[in-house]
């Protein structure tokens, strides 16, 4: 199935008659990508479900103001990233969880979740990711899972390409060390 161009989506969205059709096309094209991007950050399916809907409502409300000085999908990714980080920070504050215990709590929730059927190695990878600082985990996810280019990640996060490369290289080293550590088993 041929993917519709962003320019076509924006053109149709600008006209009231074709606005709903345009939004349908946008959802077809991006909803899964954005879902998984959020899911890898917040881990829980129900939280992701709420967030992804909030993100696309924001997209609906603000798309007519979108200036084509960035790519459409990096703009949507940016909204999704900001919503996810805001959610995680709120969760930490509400639960009053000390920062060093947050990753452990998230990992426990992951194991208990009915929407995670990963094997031991996959679980170990998720725990490795949870040891990373939030931003480093975000950058790793976008590079490793979403396979975005550094320039695209730079647009989304507002961080320079050089800093992103350094952050990613450090993240990869940490994860590799964690994965190779035979003392850590589940």
């Amino acid at each position: 199935m041929k993917q519709v161009e962003d320019s076509e989506i924006l053109e149709k969205f600008s006209q009231e008659k074709t606005r709903n059709e345009a939004f349908n096309l946008l959802l077809n094209k991006y909803q899964q990508k954005i879902y998984w991007h959020i899911r890898r950050l917040v881990l829980n399916h129900d939280d992701t479900d709420d967030l992804v809907q909030d993100v696309f409502i924001k997209v609906w409300k603000n798309l007519e103001k979108f200036r084509s000085d960035s790519q459409l999908y990096t703009w949507i990714y940016r909204i999704a990233t900001n919503e996810s980080i805001t959610f995680l920070n709120k969760q930490k504050q509400q639960n009053n969880t000390p920062l060093d215990e947050v990753s452990a709590e998230l990992a426990d929730n992951l194991v208990a979740s009915s929407y995670f059927n990963g094997d031991k190695v996959q679980l170990k990878l998720q725990k490795a990711l949870l040891t990373l600082p939030e931003k480093q985990r975000l950058i790793f996810n976008m590079k490793y899972f979403d396979e975005l280019k550094y320039e695209e990640i730079s647009e989304i996060t507002g961080t320079s390409v050089g800093a992103l490369k350094a952050s990613f290289h450090i993240a990869v080293k940490k994860i590799e060390t964690f994965m190779l550590n035979e003392d850590i088993t589940f």
């Binding site: 959802l27 881990l43 399916h45 696309f56 995670f116 190695v121 490793y144 490369k165 994860i175």
Partner: protein, 176 residues
């Protein structure tokens, strides 16, 4: 041997291709390659991330989001339409004010025009009067009334010039 020397000189020249690299590129290149290799190894051992979704989730997600956008459109308050004139009375009163202001403006403009034309007419009449009076009469009058001015003998041309430079038409008419 000479051929070998020539060949190496030529080779040295060709090495400088003019291409450049970003600063510290090769220091970062090693890291980039190592990171890519680690990622490749990771992908081999961990094929997927283990996350799943409920059955038919994405189909339901789309319709759920579309339903919420309809709510957003319906909940938007309609822009309030404020009429410029609430009643006919206000409409007619505005028109009447406009007519009065326009009338006053026209009247004022006409009065100004009349004054200007009257002033111009008076000036023209003064000029005509001066033209009719003899020059010798004008000169005699000025000589008789002026005590402070130096009494030097002047030719007729010099006297004319003096009068023209120092007296306005209205002053001459008023005195005569």
């Amino acid at each position: 041997m000479e051929e070998n020397l020539e060949h190496s000189d030529w080779m040295k020249e060709m090495k400088d291709t003019g291409f450049t690299t970003p600063s510290n590129y090769f220091e970062g290149l090693n890291q980039s390659i190592q990171a890519k290799l680690s990622m490749e190894r990771l992908k081999v051992s961990v094929h997927e991330d283990g996350f799943t979704v409920p059955t038919c989730y994405f189909e339901q997600l789309q319709s759920g989001i579309l339903a919420k956008t309809t709510d957003v459109v319906q909940s938007r308050p309609e822009p309030k339409l404020i009429k410029l004139w609430h009643s006919k009375l206000l409409k007619y009163a505005s028109a009447a004010c406009f007519v009065i202001v326009a009338g006053i403006g026209t009247l004022y403009y006409n009065q100004q025009t009349e004054r200007t034309s009257v002033a111009m007419t008076e000036e023209m009449a003064t000029e005509q009067m001066l033209y009719d009076i003899d020059e010798e009469v004008i000169i005699e009058h000025i000589e008789a009334n002026s005590n402070q001015l130096p009494k030097a003998s002047a030719s007729e041309i010099a006297m004319e010039n003096y009068i023209l430079n120092n007296y306005s038409q209205n002053e001459l008419v008023a005195d005569l």
